[in-house]
């Protein structure tokens, strides 16, 4: 479907709008990057989109106990919500998928905590708190050292154990 097929609209709307980019109605409002910033929260696996700041496992441990442990269990071992620490081998189709045994990218941990957690108050954490929680979880899973700080430089470099465990189902659709 293309608006190239709609010459009447080109004439009706295109003439009056000098800034028009296309033949369409052009009813969108232009935005500056600063206006989008609060919504622009998706992080790419290469780290694109990661904000300034950082945090350590020790800082994350305190926040986790306060804001996460009531659902994810003490030190992340699981509760009413899924464990964020540990995980057995992926040796059956209904194996529990965990950060340590399944997730392919460390940036997904930051992205999901920042957009979705805590459950009752999503997007209430500061970026430093999200970095600290990410560091705590990665350290508990022994994917980084106890004293490793996570920030926009270090986080994308954390290689997840199952990074190469995936097959693209329909590569011709990409």
């Amino acid at each position: 479907m293309s608006t190239h097929e709609l010459p009447a609209i080109v004439l009706a709307l295109g003439l009056g709008s000098g800034a028009a980019f296309s033949a369409g109605p052009n009813l969108g409002t232009p935005l500056e990057p600063a206006e989008i910033a609060a919504w622009d929260i998706s992080i790419q696996p290469d780290g694109t989109g990661l904000p300034p700041g950082g945090g350590t496992p020790a800082q994350g441990e305190r926040i986790f106990a306060q804001k996460c442990a009531m659902c994810h269990g003490e030190r992340g071992k699981g509760g009413v919500a899924a464990p964020v620490v540990g995980g057995g081998p992926i040796d059956r189709i209904d194996a529990q998928k965990t950060i340590a045994n399944f997730w392919g990218y460390s940036t997904t941990v930051f992205d999901f905590i920042r957009r979705a957690m805590p459950w009752q108050q999503p997007r209430s954490l500061t970026d430093n708190e999200v970095y600290a929680l990410t560091a705590f979880i990665l350290a508990q899973n022994k994917l980084i050292g106890e004293n490793d700080s996570m920030n926009a430089e270090t986080l994308p470099k954390v290689r997840m154990p199952n990074r190469d465990g995936f097959i693209i189902r329909f590569p011709d659709k990409i």
Binding site: F21, L27, G28, D40, R92, K173
Partner: protein, 439 residues
Amino acid sequence: MEPRDRVKEELERLELVAGNGLLDRRTFLRSGAAFAAAVTGYTVARSAGAAPLKDDPWSLVPGAISPSYEQRSRFEGKVVRTLSNPNGETRTSHARTPHHLINGTFTPNGLHFTIVHSGTPDIDPDKHRLVIHGLVKRPLAFTLDALARYPMVSRMTFVECGGNSAPMFSKEPIQASVQALHGLASCAEWTGVPLSTLLEETGIDPKAKWLVAEGADSLALSRSVPLTKALDDAMVALYQNGERLMPGNGYPMRLLLPGWEGNMNVKFLRRLKLVEAPAMSYYETRTYSQILPGGKAYRFYFLQEVKSFITHPSPGLALKGPGYYEISGIAYSGNGRISKVMGSADGGQSWAQAALQAPVLSKAFTRFRMPWRWDGGPAVLQSRAWDEAGNMQPTRAQFVAQRGETQKVPNVLGFPNQHYNSLTSWAIDGKGEVKHVYA
């Protein structure tokens, strides 16, 4: 003559096309009244003892005033979705379509399946915005009022959860209804603005290969979508079966990706960011990545592959004595139109072609029907669909040989989020009860 003997005699006169009583799909069309008289021998039995017809009370008084928004008859209250999380605990909630209690091809809005991972947001449509940004020539925000002025299109299409039918990964057949097994798929007419129209206005940076779609729900659920799909048949849908989207289906707008995994059809759509590579979001790299027996996992499954299942009869709809029944169900494929559905009444030993109800639309539910004369003995009903791309619905044995089975029998609501599209088998016993079996 004993009823059973009479059925046998009638059966001999009819055109059987496959074992255990399957009749030619054109039988009714061709023979009309003569056939009807033959097969309805039971239902037109003498009415001895029946009371003479008379007017019922509702026929003797003026009826109710038409309400401004009509609700269905008070006698239809049992036709409802089943809920996996009725108390709103901190987990995903599913509402499943009762395929066995409805008919046709479109799912009524109140019965369309929904999955919400953190509840349904209460969105004020006047304040909602759709932002398109990233690798575009100019980022734009659209209000609902603005989108309502764009050229729109309507299309019938199904939406199916990537984990629909996954209870059939269970090693043993789970005794559950078609609603529990296959209720996470529904079909509606969606109306909205082609995404390509909006992307033409923002312009596309040649580096863009994907877009990240995000909702206005509390999880800001996000999925990466190849730009080729976005420019093919993707839509920002505003209407569902003629009225604004239901809240559980993404009010006031959702991304519609015909034929693709339900979760990617992001609801409450508020943002589309054009990017070079996928974001590897939680739902694409964890939840809807499908573990295979060898330990690897499929990522970016995207397509809902060809599937069919029989809705009538099915568990919970017992047969009421030998005689004529219509076997009916739905078939669909994310690859396009359904080209053929075959049915069996003897567990796949012999097959007959089902009639496909017109119109047969691409990436939409197709209703299939076939006449069947049940002789009162054991039967195993199956349907098998083909799509126009030449894909054939696999048998269960073929499917699980590649994709595996669960070691334990899971709770029917606690299945892994895995794509599953093999045949479904319903066994009918001598009493007419219908059970789920593997055959």
